[in-house]
Assembly symmetry: C2
Homo-oligomer: 525 residues x 2
């Protein structure tokens, strides 16, 4: 039994913790991989997806076309930072999953808030639609235009404004890349309070706009708690400065919350103030194999009991999702085959205490027979290799064929039942049905692949998946948002009264509806 | 040196940790004390404050008076739960601090959401103003009527709906008392994610409505992160159900955030879903004495380094605030006199590890000479006694005379400079100038007492305190909210653009302005 041997080694020496079979992997966050030419599926070429306008049932709203006069205005405002070349525009028109494709003729690259303000004021006056874009790593078609909306990219707004060593408060422009920010902070003994697979490409502004979740929610909570302030440009070009850096501020309504998670439909986030936790002095990662999902849940309870405040992630993946990273990315699974795998991360301030807690937990997990194999990593390189098995599933799935993606919140006890029911329901019509996700947050990523897009497969999946989720009081989008692709499914998770109130908010802030149209909130009647 | 001896004892045995000099105190959260007859200042009698309408410069808006027809409607709707007796109404018309006094003739006590809905629909149709009230423990005059608004009390809405042992999610009505909820949860191995001095009286709905902070923010974050869902009745009587219990849900705008911290001006919160942390297995509390505020800050840095994830509170109080609890509540300070005192709480999952971390920290604090005395408590009774020294300052101040209260967020390095400047500025015209608060959150409570209310003292304090705070990019209300008394000071912390947007939100949700008028958001021009 692989784990048993390991556990004995653990008791003897710290260095023995790290399993030698952990593989070397390419450091390649999926956002980066997407844009690199080394990844053939990702290059824009013969495999270009069809235009959204042709493929989806959606009608263009009566926004005027961009004129040469408009173009002249933007070229004067942003000299050398206006893109109109069709080929250059492709990567901004097509989403990472290659499932939606806009037809924008114009990309604007402002460098600061004032430029964003002037752009939006002009667009609002002219009634031109705008699609804001960060790292374009979204999974629901929210970050690319649906028709010919002007793309407003935050890529050149990538400056750190300040970092306060005492309080851990970072203030930066919204186009900073998450991983770059994390690296910057690590040099100063801090980390970002969020982490996700797309960190190499995604922008912090996009993270806020989508209320990104990811791997650290269990420990540091959501962005609604860690974001201290933001600056946003409203659709009419006015600048709303809520960029404070205070942990507590109860002076009036908390306007920043409107923009967190509104997916660019209420304005453009231009700057962010965020509270960053200290970099943990000690990090351990355990990969465990379990024979059933009920044991995954039992291990979660055991783990919370033993690890308490040092537990920083509890992720799970099923065998099928392990196979997909082995097959397409050639990553190696250091454990024997199990029906389920669990990744448990601890992050604490005392190496010795953390080890003792983890050892006690592993001993108990072993003795009780809840896990059937396991490995532990403590050094940075090996931790990254183990994390890759979980973090790169999204990337691996993109190599497997057309991907139907569902990102669901479901009470944990019921979480895997949906995967099993979906698998049984689809039979051989799907290539793969995989389930993985942030178990500690009750967040399941259900993914189905097929060789090519299939209407009949989609019909077997929807509304089944949404109805099943709503039937279990779940959310049909836990962390990905609604974007373009899931907008009309909002009623599975929200009452019509709630949606009407959202529509009133949208109307109030964006009366002309120019900001990221066709997305997130269904059009009011 | 008191601490030195203690530290040696700590090294020898765990039981020696708790100092025998810690006193027995009455268990009396200040909210409870206020309402009890044992506390003469608190009884409604000759010391009644003047009516707000007479004492403050504020004009009644043209809401109609309550008619006998209105009364009949409410008596049919809420049989036996309509209060009109003037004496019975007094405690609901006067705030805890006895600084504001409304003149409501009618108190309604609904038991459920449907009743609240019917009340608000009727009031909105009739254009009758409503003042929602929880435990009436607010400190800014937000929880009592200004004129004759109808008081809607949540006191009878005190039922727990459900508690999920796996996820730690509590769902309850908004009138549940915070301390009762905490006791209920402790029996099941969990605690509430917030704790504050008024816990014995305040309602969870009021906590949400005011985005209450308190003693656990440092560890568990703000309510914006821990509240999973809520139900609110809008001013027109419609019920908005956002009562989900999911840790993650990104389906549209996060409407619940509108109601958190809006102080009852946008609707009435009727139910709450909140994520509760596990009850820590081990809790320690240390009270330390420091000779200067710069040392308080140095100890904070040292403490974060050593205690890391088990640090659950870092509170400070100055000598003057220690004296006030000694004088008026007869609590005993177990330490020698110091210029400053620090309360450090640890909460963790392993008694032995927590002790080791705390010991290492205390040893370092001692060796470095940063602290001059100290005591540690581990058992529940003694922990409560030490906490009382800090938690009951508000109550003690109420015995000292008229209290001018300021609740400020200020960058920690500058936090105490304001107390010193205020003290120097006021000289002998104030009875006391005290500073204490949640240092870990950058939150200072600055309180000034005088024998009676004095216009000249107020003129010396305002706008000085607000200007000073704004000059240091602080917030003029960190956690108490704006209520009636601080509403017009919002501009010290928020831009006019931000306030205008708040006014538009208010207008959208409450076009007739019936909900908690005269409060939080300045009247739109």
């Amino acid at each position: 039994m692989a784990f048993s041997g390991l556990y004995m080694a653990l008791k003897k020496s710290r260095t023995a913790w790290a399993l030698t079979r952990i593989l070397h992997t390419n450091k390649s966050p999926w956002g980066v991989a997407f844009l690199s030419s080394s990844c053939p599926r990702m290059s824009v070429g013969p495999m270009e997806p069809p235009f959204t306008a042709d493929h989806y049932s959606v009608s263009r709203l009566p926004f005027p076309d961009v004129t040469s006069e408009d173009l002249n205005f933007f070229q004067r405002l942003l000299p050398g930072r206006v893109v109109t070349d069709e080929d250059d525009l492709k990567r901004y028109n097509i989403d990472w999953l290659r499932t939606v494709r806009g037809n924008s003729k114009l990309l604007l690259r402002p460098q600061n808030t004032e430029e964003v303000s002037k752009i939006l004021k002009y667009c609002n006056d002219r009634n031109l639609a705008v699609s804001p874009q960060g790292g374009n790593t979204g999974l629901v078609g929210g970050s690319v235009p649906v028709f010919d909306e002007i793309i407003l990219s935050t890529a050149l707004m990538d400056q750190v404004t300040s970092f306060d060593q005492v309080s851990g408060t970072l203030v930066c422009q919204s186009g900073c890349i998450l991983e770059s920010l994390n690296q910057y902070l690590e040099g100063q003994g801090y980390i970002m309070p969020l982490d996700l697979g797309a960190k190499g490409s995604c922008h912090i502004g996009g993270n806020l706009a989508t209320n990104a979740g990811g791997l650290r929610v269990l420990r540091y909570g959501s962005l609604r708690g860690t974001v201290l302030g933001l600056e946003a440009v409203l659709p009419d070009g006015s600048i709303l400065n809520c960029l404070n850096s205070l942990r507590k501020d109860n002076t009036g309504y908390d306007l920043k919350q409107l923009f967190i998670g509104s997916e660019g439909t209420l304005g453009v986030i231009t700057a962010v103030s965020i509270l960053c936790p200290r970099k943990p002095k000690s990090v351990n990662l355990a990969l465990l194999g379990c024979e059933s999902f009920s044991r995954v849940l039992q291990v979660f309870t055991l783990c919370r009991d033993h690890l308490g405040e040092i537990l920083s992630a509890y992720e799970f993946q099923d065998l099928e999702s392990m196979r997909v990273v082995q097959t397409h990315l050639k990553l190696s699974n250091p454990l024997q085959e199990s029906a389920f795998y669990i990744l448990i991360e601890t992050a604490g301030s005392c190496e010795q205490h953390d080890e003792e807690k983890l050892n006690a937990f592993l001993a108990k997990a072993l003795e009780s027979g809840l896990v059937e194999s396991g490995t532990v990593a403590t050094d940075q390189g090996k931790i990254k290799s183990l994390w890759a098995l979980r973090e790169r599933i999204t990337e691996a799935l993109a190599h497997d064929g057309y991907v139907y993606k569902y990102d669901l919140s479901i009470p944990v006890e019921k979480l895997y039942a949906l995967v099993e029911e979906t698998r049984a329901r689809l039979g051989t019509s799907a290539r793969r049905v995989v389930g993985y996700g942030h178990l500690g947050d009750g967040n399941l990523h259900l993914n189905i692949t097929s060789e090519t897009y299939s209407e009949s497969l989609l019909a077997a999946l929807e509304p089944f998946v949404y109805q099943w989720t709503a039937g279990h009081s779940g959310s049909i989008s836990a962390e990905h948002g609604l974007g373009f692709k899931k907008r009309d499914h909002i009623y599975y998770s929200k009452s019509s009264e709630a949606v009407q109130l959202m529509q009133r908010l949208k109307k109030m802030l964006d009366p002309k509806g120019i900001m990221n149209p066709y997305k997130t909130i269904p059009q009011a009647d």
